[in-house]
């Protein structure tokens, strides 16, 4: 039986190859792993945000059934802080080690880890741990309002932005603020740590977006050679950035496993997940725009202040996209950082730029109103034909097509620009739009591909599938190059024992991984050709270069032999190819970014102050979509997340003591199905071959950028209220201007 040929598998709508495993529960998430003799960890959170831990009373907790040990400051091994270097690949989310000292820096910081025979026993005992604190005055929970608050951390200038602003005939000076947001991955953070005999290798299952970073950091922290640490993450229930780098629960769990000589698993309850594993930090952004009366931008100044914790320095670079967004000779971006007594923030989907574009794209809309110009026309007026930041041409930019195509599909031309001019019964219709953008990046990656004698193929790479569909696109790549049917391709990911792959972050996985998989596939095919042409092979004596690959077979001189036949004839069980890929010098010639446009309709019922998003039309240019169904799903999900950012989501800290009061799924509101409107996504198909051989720039973050300002702009159109503080909740709509 000859295999079905698979022409052009790349770019075809392809069901996820792991879909059935996920649907039936065979997909092994971290919490699905149980080991013989496994114990359960449950962290005890601090109930204050600022002070010292004076004492712990543990007698009652220790006496609880099943309790094996309680780790805490004073009863915890001496470990080493990770150097926390991106370059060395050992970055962590929070460099402070758990239980390092008696200082409390945020509500929820772990003060102990209870380890017991069952999860329920560990949790029950955790509630019996009694802590005495010394609370200190001076808790900081909000962002300061002055322009010079915090520490200056980043700076970019071109031209003479202040001078140009001073001379501009039309100016705008506005401040935009955003509440901190929680990632809310469906699967909470979880660690299963085992010090495996005979050589006490540390083997960790973790729900992580970066197995290699965690391996390297664990090696530094526990002072082990990296060969003695393995981190595994076969499946993760999303992360959105808060699983990029390791958090203290993993360190505490690995330490407990070593101390007790048994595997330990810790699964964070939702409350602790929201308190201790990062968030998008609060931001306050001032945008100053100067323009000519025809709309030409002459000055953009973007000043941002974002929060970080007392124990780490996470910079949410709000102005990242601003220098490249519009054709404008004078641009300044300043970023400042302020410490607050909250948990440590971290990247969250489209980090920095999602917040930054809320401010910038709201301001552009405000400028359009000030100029009495259509906001779409204003954006086209200032269209950047090349990257104004680098001066280089874009590798492939079709924002104009996105703007015009989405406008047409949405029906923008029929919009009445008058405030509240469009009505439907009790409701006023508001329509707004904004542009989207996200940088295109690549990371080094290695892969291994094995052609097996049974006709199947194994592709392996250490990078992980965070739910976005990496398993499937790796298989598509192999199918494309070998002609072997998808069903015969096995993909292994998410293990540091496999060839090194990148973090799953920054929308870089596709562009990083597929070229390496392709290289490994070609290497395997070359190995097969070499085998087939040697003595005793199907094509003995032929030049390997004369062999063609066709539907899982090699072909030459009108003869064909399946991969399986070739290997069987030679008595080989398989041939293996290795490959790697890394960014080249293409960045010296081109700038790489994805762009898009969102058009949003909101419904505002002023009689009951009810605001809902009614429909979203988005056209996004991500280069080539390897698997259009998965890519579209990424954009749709991001739009839902943007809806939450605009209208619902915000972590709330008690202003008196910085305690987080809404760390649960009822009080921290993410959109539910009833909030999700009709979403119409078009992925433009302009392969970006300057970026990589597949023409893919990646997808994930881009869909989120621009959604919140498009909604806020639609809210203005409906209500006449310019709301510059997210989320736009009902009290803000009801408050007098």
């Amino acid at each position: 039986m000859s295999p079905t040929p698979e022409p052009h598998v790349v770019g075809r709508r392809t069901p996820r190859i792991d879909g059935e495993d996920k649907l039936t529960g065979r997909a092994d998430y971290t919490v699905d792993h149980r080991l013989e003799g496994m114990l359960h960890g449950y962290p005890v959170p601090a109930s204050i945000a600022h002070g010292t831990l004076e004492s712990l009373t543990l007698d009652a907790a220790r006496a609880m059934p099943g309790v094996v040990d309680i780790l805490h400051h004073g009863h915890f091994p001496d470990l080493h802080r990770s150097p926390n270097s991106m370059r060395q690949g050992d970055a962590v989310s929070e460099v402070r080690l758990p239980f390092e000292d008696d200082r409390i820096h945020y509500h929820g910081q772990y003060i102990a880890l209870v380890v017991a025979e069952t999860l329920e026993q560990a949790r029950a005992a955790a509630f019996r741990v009694e802590a005495r604190y010394h609370r200190e005055a001076g808790v900081v929970t909000g962002l300061a309002t002055g322009d010079d608050e915090g520490e200056a951390v980043r700076h970019y200038t071109r031209g003479e932005p202040e001078l140009a602003f001073g001379l501009a005939p039309v100016i705008l000076d506005r401040t935009y603020t955003m509440a901190p947001e929680s990632h809310v991955p469906l699967e909470p953070h979880a660690t299963l740590a085992e010090w495996r005999e005979p050589d006490r290798r540390l083997v960790v299952h973790e729900s992580t977006q970066g197995v290699f970073y965690q391996r390297n950091a664990l090696a530094r922290i526990f002072d082990l050679p990296i060969e003695r640490v393995e981190v595994i993450s076969h499946y993760i229930g999303s992360g959105f950035g808060n699983k990029l780098f390791m958090w203290p629960h993993a360190v505490a769990t690995a330490a407990a496993a070593r101390l007790l000589g048994r595997p330990v698993r810790t699964v964070l309850p939702r409350q602790l997940d929201m308190m201790t594993t990062g968030h998008r930090p609060a931001s306050r952004q001032r945008i100053r725009l100067g323009a000519e009366r025809d709309g030409s931008l002459v000055s953009i100044q973007h000043d941002s202040l974002t929060a970080t914790s007392m124990v780490d320095r996470y910079i949410d670079a709000c102005g990242g996209a601003t220098p490249s967004a519009y054709a404008c000779d004078s641009v300044a971006v300043h970023q400042r950082l302020q410490r607050v007594h909250h948990g440590t923030p971290c990247p969250m989907r489209a980090p920095g730029e999602a917040s930054g574009l809320f401010a910038l794209e709201s301001a552009i809309d405000e400028l359009a109103v000030a100029l009495d110009m259509d906001p779409l026309a204003l954006r086209l007026k200032n269209y950047a034909d090349q990257d104004p930041r680098s001066g280089l041409p874009w590798s492939s930019k079709h924002l104009d097509r996105c703007l015009e195509g989405a406008a047409e599909r949405f029906g923008w031309a029929t919009r009445d620009p008058g405030i509240g001019a469009m009505r439907d019964g009790d409701e006023i219709i508001g329509q707004g739009m904004a542009a989207a953008t996200w940088f295109a990046g690549r990371q080094p990656c290695a892969a291994r591909v094995t052609l097996r004698a049974d006709g199947s193929v194994l592709a392996a790479c250490g990078t992980q599938d965070i739910g976005t569909g990496t398993y499937t696109i790796v298989a598509q790549t192999v199918a494309e190059l070998t002609g072997v049917p998808m069903a015969r391709i096995e993909v292994r990911l998410g293990d540091t024992e496999l060839p090194a792959g990148p973090l799953s972050g920054g929308s870089m996985t596709t562009a990083s991984t597929l070229p390496a998989v392709a290289a490994a596939t070609r290497d395997a095919l070359a190995a097969l050709k070499a085998e087939a042409t040697r003595a005793g092979g199907d094509f003995a004596g032929l030049d390997p270069a004369s062999l063609a690959v066709e539907a899982g077979a090699l072909v030459a001189d009108g003869r064909r032999a399946d991969f399986a036949e070739i290997l069987a004839r030679l008595g080989r069980s398989d041939v293996t190819g290795e490959g790697s890929a890394a960014p080249g010098d293409e960045r010296r010639e081109y700038s790489f970014r994805s762009f898009g446009a969102h058009f949003v309709e909101v419904r505002w019922d002023p009689g009951i102050s009810r605001l809902r998003v009614a429909r979203v039309v988005s056209h996004i240019d991500i280069g080539r979509a390897i698997n259009p169904v998965a890519a579209r799903n990424q954009v749709e999900g991001a739009i839902v997340m943007g809806l939450g950012m605009a209208l619902l989501e915000g972590l709330v800290h008690d202003p008196r003591d910085a305690r987080l009061v809404n760390a649960n799924l009822a009080d921290y509101r993410i959109p539910v199905h009833a909030d999700v409107p009709e979403i119409d996504v078009e992925l433009l198909d302009y392969p970006d071959y300057r970026f990589n051989e597949f023409g893919a720039r990646g997808v994930g973050e881009i869909g989120l950028t621009g959604v919140a300002p498009a909604i806020a702009n639609a809210v203005y159109h409906a209500t006449g209220r310019r709301l510059r503080d997210l989320p736009i909740t009902v009290e803000k709509l009801l408050a007098p201007d």
Binding site: S47, P65, E120, R123, A124, F127, R128, Q271, G607, I608, S609, R610, R612, L647, L648, V652, D654, P655, R656, R659, V661, N662, N664, A666, D667, R669, P671, V672, H673, A674, D675, T729, V730, E731, L734, A735
Partner: protein, 332 residues
């Protein structure tokens, strides 16, 4: 969650017996409140008695046209019961405005009456809360109180009663049958939930008893009903303000009227004065607004929830308008 003893009861008598002598004992039906709070260490029952096997799952029509609803009837079954849809549309609407379908499939009528507040300080065992720990203080009064009550609060507690179903029951009128060791007694639903006053930990009239049934007052007919629930997101969300309205019109004049509120008060709230004002008035916006102002005349805002007053006003006006419309449509 702390360890607790667990028993299954197959009769009301057996359930009461299991509970006897155990003041922290708790009955569990759907578990949609209890299990959450036990896991948060907010409720610490020494004994949990599963009452799901009790024969309290019927809805029957009594000879005087009243509906007697077993305490274990699920919220979903009640909302879609043909007699409820036909005679008590406000009850159906209110139930379906609450929680999610998954929660409604589990939650029971008795459990809904007994559900606890969503106050974040009540749900955090390390915070001060007079309801959870009498005398410990109230962190909500000076803390984050966006979701809290503007009606019926005290200087000890401003926690909102979260139920939608109970708002409809307040309007319709109902009698609760409570069975205890010494037999059964009846309590008017209006008297069941208490205002917090100086004792916010005493939330209701239930003693060493089990709610076995809720008997609705005879239906008002003809009737227009509307439940307007205003909230941050479109579903699976507690009310910022909700208003129920039941109206009968004679020509355009208001005859029967009921106006309960949810999401703004410490117990299911009935606006008697506003109802009295509506009686005999023409059913128009001016009357609805006047009633709304009267209903909220005593509302007392906290630092973060002043918006609830204009929002509740809007909910009232819209509910009354829609109830009047429903009545007129029914009439034609």
């Amino acid at each position: 969650m702390r360890p607790f003893a667990f028993a299954r009861a197959d009769s009301v008598e057996r359930a009461l017996e299991c509970r006897r002598g155990e003041p922290t004992g708790a009955f569990v039906a759907g578990g949609t409140t209890l299990l959450d709070l036990v896991k948060l260490d907010v409720m610490r029952p020494a004994r949990v008695i599963d009452i799901n096997a009790l024969p309290l799952k019927d809805v029957e029509r009594l000879h005087d046209d009243r509906l007697r609803i077993g305490a274990l009837v699920t919220n979903t079954d009640l909302a879609y019961h043909p007699d409820v849809l036909a005679d008590h549309p406000l009850l159906s609407q209110a139930i379906l405005a609450g929680a999610s379908s998954q929660v409604r499939n589990m939650a029971t009528v008795g459990g809904n009456l007994m559900q606890r507040t969503r106050c974040p300080y009540f749900r955090d065992p390390t915070a001060a809360c007079n309801k959870r720990e009498p005398g410990s203080g109230c962190d909500a009064l000076t803390g984050v109180n966006r979701m809290h009550a503007v009606l019926g609060g005290s200087d000890r507690c401003v926690a909102v009663h979260p139920s939608d179903m109970c708002v409809a029951l307040a309007a319709i009128g109902a009698t609760l049958s409570l069975q205890g060791p010494n037999g059964e007694r009846e309590v008017d639903v209006a008297d069941f939930h208490r205002l917090p006053g100086a004792t916010p930990h005493l939330e209701h009239e239930l003693g060493d008893e089990l709610i076995v049934a809720v008997t609705l007052a005879p239906p008002l007919k003809p009737l227009g009903a509307a439940y307007v629930k205003l909230r941050d997101r479109a579903s699976y969300e507690f009310a910022l303000a909700s208003a129920g309205a039941m109206l009968s019109l004679d020509e355009d004049l208001i005859g029967e009227q009921r106006l309960p509120l949810g999401g703004v008060a410490t117990k299911p709230w009935r606006c008697h004065a506003a109802e009295a004002l509506l009686a005999g008035k023409r059913a128009d916006t001016a009357a609805f607004e006047e009633a709304a102002d009267l209903a909220l005349a005593d509302a007392a805002p906290l630092a973060h929830n002043a918006f609830k007053i204009p929002l509740a006003r809007q909910a009232i006006v819209r509910a009354l308008r829609d109830a009047a419309r429903a009545h007129r449509e029914d009439d034609t």
